[in-house]
Structures are given as structure tokens and as C-alpha cells.
């Protein structure tokens, strides 16, 4: 039956949207807005972000507005909001605000300036560490989920072992033997690439076929690596590696990132395993799209929700871990302030100067709490099953 023929409603069009027109983002915001704790978390997170960036500009440079390293021994352990004793200070030693907003520590350094400097450390550690772990997690999980059924041959494993042992021998200063190993391996790789298109079965004698057998599937291999990584007690492992490496903030970020990707890998793999069987992926494949396009354009947007949630909560965990490491005296070298080492320095004056413990402690608590609340809010929004229940 034709509508125009009947003339019921000439304005009616099938293309016109029947439901109220909302973009995905608006829909998302409508649900998210109902969770008041998550809104609070988001607000604090934005505030913290601004503080950290402003703090970076105000405390660095040759002549900073707030100097976190300025030592005033005559003004030590002043409580918050105390006025400086103007007679005993030189002009450049007077704090920019005219008073000590958060007091001073045992060397008379302005705690407010040190907190501002430490905010940037917490922020970057959280984001970079989680960025590393999410990248590794998506990569490993994507391979395990999408190419999982492919098999690795025995000669691939042998080649990898040769490459690794060759590299470590070169690094362990027995250069000649290592270089020979490396050259052999590279030559074999080059050879097998160059003969890829010819019929290879005839060129190999029967004993060499052992090397071309399928050993393990990619999925098994990656999941076993995840199992191995999960066997290490994580804080102890991080502590060991950080203690052995030279002290630097970048080492901490990398180490935290490298030891926390297992959860993301499992999420992405599980999502990919179920997505791979769905019709839209089959449709895209039939249209002739490449693996790369299928993975990143079609599957990843559907698999990203649990990763986002675990990344948000991972940032909170990374900030806590960094604070714990600074508290134990590892990580950022001393003159640079972090929230963990302000608290660690202040613990000796816990009864005389409690603000040295409470200010950084509460700051860490609020920031970590905001990330956790925001992450849980995201989980509610992105998971339609949970949404209906509330």
C-alpha cells in the first residue's frame, strides 16, 4: 500500500525520527546526571586537573610565584593561615599570598607551594601509567581476542628465544657471540620472508617439519602470560623494580603501567571474543574491510566501555601506589615535592604539626575518591543492564 496514494498524511515521512532526537552524548549525560556522587567526582576531577596545570606554571621556572624549594629556617612549622614574621625575612622570602595558606614544614618551606607542585606529579603518574597499561592491555587483548585461533609454529618460538638471548648477550657484554646469534636469526627471518610465496614443502627435509608444527594458539600464549604476571605480588614487584632502578618519576610511571595491564587485557579479550561472532562484523568482513579497519573502526568502539571504567579506577589506584612509594622514600628524588613525601616528611612531627599529615592525606583521599566515584558512575551509565535496575 502506498501512503501518498491514500493521502492520509502528506507530511509524513519515514525518514523523520519517531523518538525525540538526542545524540549519544546527550543520552549519556541525561543518565549520568542522575548520579549525584558521580557528578561530584567529575567536578572534583576537573578542579584537580586545573589545580595541577596552574600549579605547574606557578611553581616552575627560574622565578616562580610560589617557590616550593624556598627554605626559611626561622619560619619552620608555622600552622596554616599564619602570618610570616616580616622582620626576619628578606624581601624575596615573603610568601606571595602574604600568609602561609597551609603552613610551613620543618625546613620552613611553604606547604601550599609544595602541594601545588605535587599535584602535577600525581596527575601525570596517574594518567601516564594508566595510558601505558591501557595501550598494552588493548593490544594484547585485541590480538588474543581477534587472532586468538591462529597458531604459533615451533620455529617462531625458537626464533623469538634466539632473538631474546642474542639481545641479552649483547647487553651482558659478550658482544661477539650475541652478535653472531642475532645475525643468524635475522638471516633466517629474511630467508623465510623471501621464500614465502614459493612452495616451501619440498625445500624442507622431513626432519625439519618438526619445526613447522603448530605449538600453541596465540590466545593460549597471551593468557598464560597474563597468568604469569598475576602471580607476582604487585606492590612488592613495583617496590623491587623501583628500588633497583635509578630514582626518577618516569621509571615509576613505566613500572606501574607495565605491571597493571592484565585486567584490561582480559576485558578486551572477552569483549572481542563475543563481538567477533556478531553479524555486523561478518557484514563488514564480507564488504571486504581489512583487519585493521574491522578492529579499530567497528569492534573497538563496542569494546571500549569496560576499559574506560577500569582505566578511571586504575588512575585512582596508580595515584595511591605512587603516594605509597613516595611515602616509603622511593621515586621522585627529594627536593621535588610529591604528596606522598610531604606526608612522609611530616610524620615525625605528627603531634606538633598535624597539618603536615592531614593536608596531603586529605588531598590524596579526595582526588582518589573522585576518580573512584566517577568511574563507578561511568560503569552505571555504560552498562544498560545496571541502568534499568536503578
Amino acid at each position: 500500500m502506498n501512503i501518498e496514494e491514500k493521502g492520509v498524511n502528506p507530511d509524513f515521512q519515514f525518514e523523520a525520527p519517531l523518538a525525540p532526537k538526542r545524540t549519544r552524548l546527550q543520552e549519556f549525560w541525561l543518565v549520568f546526571r542522575q548520579n549525584r556522587l558521580a557528578i561530584l567526582g567529575l567536578f572534583i576531577f576537573i578542579l584537580f586537573f586545573c589545580c595541577a596545570i596552574v600549579g605547574l606554571f606557578m611553581t616552575s621556572g627560574p622565578d616562580p610565584l610560589f617557590d616550593p624549594a624556598m627554605i626559611r629556617l626561622q619560619e619552620k612549622l608555622r600552622p596554616p593561615l599564619a602570618k610570616p614574621n616580616l622582620d626576619s625575612l628578606r624581601r624575596e622570602e615573603i610568601p606571595s599570598l602574604g600568609f602561609y595558606l597551609m603552613g610551613t614544614d620543618d625546613l620552613g618551606r611553604d606547604v601550599f607551594a609544595r602541594m601545588l607542585q605535587g599535584a602535577w606529579v600525581s596527575l601525570t603518574v596517574g594518567f601516564v601509567a594508566v595510558g601505558i597499561s591501557v595501550l598494552i592491555g588493548i593490544f594484547m587483548g585485541g590480538i588474543a581476542g581477534y587472532f586468538g585461533q591462529h597458531h604459533i609454529r615451533v620455529d617462531h618460538i625458537l626464533l623469538t628465544l634466539l632473538l631474546i638471548s642474542g639481545t641479552s648477550l649483547v647487553m651482558a657484554h659478550s658482544i661477539r657471540f650475541g652478535a653472531v646469534l642475532l645475525c643468524l636469526t635475522l638471516a633466517y627471518i629474511f630467508y623465510s620472508f623471501s621464500t614465502k610465496n614459493r612452495s616451501r614443502e619440498k625445500t624442507f627435509p622431513s626432519w625439519a617439519k618438526v619445526f613447522r608444527k603448530n605449538a600453541v594458539s596465540v590466545d593460549t600464549l597471551i593468557m598464560r602470560i597474563v597468568d604469569i604476571m598475576l602471580c607476582f605480588p604487585s606492590f612488592f614487584l613495583i617496590l623491587t623494580v623501583v628500588a633497583l632502578l635509578p630514582a626518577s618519576i618516569y621509571n615509576i610511571m613505566i613500572v606501574i603501567g607495565l605491571t597493571s595491564w592484565m585486567g584490561t587485557t582480559r576485558f578486551v579479550r572477552a569483549e572481542f571474543l563475543s563481538l567477533r561472532e556478531q553479524d555486523f562484523v561478518a557484514a563488514v568482513k564480507t564488504l571486504g574491510a581489512g583487519n585493521f579497519r574491522i578492529i579499530f573502526r567497528h569492534m573497538m568502539p563496542n569494546a571500549i566501555a569496560p576499559v574506560l571504567v577500569s582505566a578511571t579506577i586504575g588512575i585512582a589506584t596508580a595515584i595511591l601506589t605512587e603516594a605509597g612509594l613516595s611515602f616509603l622514600g622511593f621515586g621522585v628524588p627529594p627536593p621535588h615535592a610529591t604528596w606522598g613525601n610531604i606526608l612522609s616528611d611530616g610524620k615525625n612531627f605528627i603531634f606538633d604539626a598535624p597539618w603536615l599529615t592531614f593536608i596531603p592525606g586529605i588531598a590524596i583521599l579526595i582526588v582518589v575518591l573522585s576518580f573512584n566515584l566517577f568511574g563507578e558512575g561511568l560503569r552505571d551509565v555504560l552498562n544498560p543492564k545496571l541502568r534499568e535496575r536503578h
Partner: protein
């Protein structure tokens, strides 16, 4: 069943082998050598360093060192580089110190989080549930070391009792038995409460979500429609079914035995496992670091194995 046990034991042994290789490589490839820990010490002459290296096979190539180390570990001959004592004996002593912390902490966690979780599932969306939810986020987010100092300030100011260490220094002579007992209890209380906070928060949330899952089932509606009293519905019909996943968690608390908490134990000067591991890291005492790592990997694997087995036994729906 038998084939499942056999397969998973073999798999776990292979995993353990790779864990041992990876941890050995991490420790030995990292920069810095144990023989250079104290270069300023005048007693550390090159001859001593040479003898030290020979004694602990540090002059051999890496794979030989690896074989030596794990041969010694399995025959129980591994000695600490710092004081030449048997590593296993040292770990056992420290383990006995950590054990009370672990037991009290676990008891606190499990006895508190179940009532809290069940109650907030029953009163879902009400004031109790919302405040319990917020409180558990607070407990997850609070840095352990900060919470430790808050509690120390509170307890010392309010009750005037010493809390640092395992017992008050020099209390052994002349004090009565109940006095010593109470002293030990006070010293035990704070670190174990701190060890339990994270566990309470996570476990009570988990109990809540499990209870909610079960409360939405049809048989609960049937039980209500029959006119059963709400207590019986909640505690007999719902709770028993919600308990199933928690049986497996008994296996998963096993790794907590050795993990301990480095930070909590060093704040309270508690001579436990975590603190020993921390001191070993500072002194580059590789045998202790590697042994602690190995034992904790064994515990993790044993824990997952036990929890798989328990699940098999408890849940008849699972057949492998």
C-alpha cells in the same frame, strides 16, 4: 575430576617455572650489583668482594646462577647474603609474626562485610544503603599510611596506650599475665584493622551485588508470594544461594598470608613478612627477595587451584 586436577597441576607448575625465570631476570638484569652496596665501607676490599662473588656464584653466567639458586632453594640451603642465615628459617620466623595480623584481619573483614552487604542489599536505595556505599568508596580511596596516622593520633590521644611494635618495650619483666595479654591485643588491633579496611569495602560491595542478583530471581518472588516472613526469605532463601561465589574466595585469601602490607608493617614497626621483604630490597638481599617472590607465587597458584576445586565440589551444575 582427576583429569582436571592433573591438567591444572601441570599447567600451574609450568607457570611457576616461568615466574621463577622472570623474577630471576628482573632482579639480576636491573642495574646495580649486590657486591657494590656499600662501596665506602673500608672493610670492603676488592679481595673481599671477589671472595663474596665466588661464595655466592656471582662470577658464573646467569643460567648457572639460576640453577644454583633454585637447587639451593629446594634443598633448603639458601642463605641470606646479609647475615648468612638460612632464608627459609628467617621467613618462617617472620611468617609467625605476620600470622596473627592476617588471622585477625581476615576475621574482621569477613564478619563485618557480610552483615553490611546484606543489609544494604535489603534496604537498596535507602539511606543506609547510600551511606554504606559512600563509606566503602571512602575506605577504598583512603591511603593506608594516612589512615594509619589518623588512627594512631586518635588512639594515643583518647586511650593513652602505646601502639607501635608488637609489644610495649620491656613489658616482659614484672607485669602480670592479663596485662601482657591486653598489651598484645592493643598492639595487634590497629594494624589488623588497617589491613582489613580495603577488604571490608570491597567484600561488602560484592556481597551486596550478589544479594541483589539473587533477590531478583523468580523463586524469591515465589517465596514472598507464599507469604513467608521477610526474614526467612532474605536469610534462608536468598542468602544461601548468594553465598555460593564466596566459598571460592576462601582460596583467594591465601596469597594475603605472605603479601602482608609493607607500608602498614613499617609504620607500626611490626617485624613481619612485608617488612622483611622491604629491608631485603633496601639491602639488595637477592635470595630473600627471590624466595619471598617464589613462595607468594606458589600461594597465588595454590589459592586459585583450591578455589577451582571448591567451586567444583560446591556447585553441582559445574561439570568438567
Amino acid at each position: 575430576m582427576i583429569s582436571f586436577i592433573g591438567r591444572s597441576v601441570i599447567q600451574k607448575i609450568i607457570t611457576l617455572f616461568f615466574v621463577s625465570i622472570v623474577s630471576f631476570l628482573i632482579i639480576h638484569i636491573a642495574p646495580g650489583k649486590p657486591s657494590q652496596v656499600d662501596p665506602m665501607n673500608p672493610k670492603f676490599t676488592p679481595e673481599v668482594v671477589e671472595r663474596f662473588r665466588k661464595e655466592f656464584h656471582l662470577d658464573k653466567p646467569l643460567h648457572v646462577q639460576y640453577l644454583y639458586f633454585y637447587k639451593n632453594l629446594f634443598t633448603g640451603e639458601t642463605v641470606s647474603w646479609k647475615d648468612n642465615q638460612s632464608v627459609l628459617k628467617k621467613i618462617w620466623e617472620r611468617f609467625l609474626n605476620s600470622l596473627p595480623l592476617f588471622i585477625v584481619g581476615t576475621i574482621i573483614t569477613w564478619t563485618l562485610s557480610f552483615p553490611i552487604g546484606i543489609r544494604s542489599a535489603i534496604f537498596r536505595g535507602q539511606f543506609y544503603d547510600r551511606s554504606a556505599t559512600f563509606l566503602s568508596y571512602l575506605l577504598i580511596s583512603i591511603p593506608g599510611f594516612f589512615f594509619a596516622y589518623v588512627l594512631i593520633i586518635f588512639v594515643v590521644n583518647q586511650f593513652h596506650v602505646p601502639v607501635i611494635g608488637m609489644e610495649t618495650f620491656g613489658i616482659g619483666d614484672g607485669a602480670s599475665l592479663p596485662h601482657i595479654f591486653m598489651d598484645r591485643i592493643w598492639h595487634l588491633l590497629l594494624p589488623s584493622v588497617l589491613g582489613a579496611t580495603g577488604g571490608i569495602a570491597v567484600l561488602s560491595r560484592y556481597v551486596r551485588s550478589q544479594m541483589l542478583e539473587v533477590e531478583g530471581q523468580d523463586y524469591i518472588r515465589t517465596a514472598r508470594a507464599k507469604g513467608l516472613p521477610p526474614e526467612q526469605v532474605h536469610y534462608k532463601h536468598a542468602l544461601r544461594n548468594a553465598l555460593l561465589p564466596f566459598v571460592t574466595m576462601f582460596g583467594l585469601i591465601l596469597p594475603g598470608l605472605i603479601g602482608g602490607s609493607v607500608i602498614i608493617e613499617s609504620i607500626f614497626s611490626w617485624p613481619g613478612m612485608g617488612r622483611m621483604a622491604y629491608e631485603a630490597i633496601l639491602a639488595r638481599d637477592y635470595p630473600i627477595i627471590l624466595t619471598v617472590n617464589f613462595v607468594s607465587a606458589v600461594l597465588v597458584l595454590a589459592g586459585t587451584f583450591i578455589s577451582d576445586l571448591l567451586y567444583l565440589i560446591v556447585d553441582p551444575r559445574i561439570r568438567l
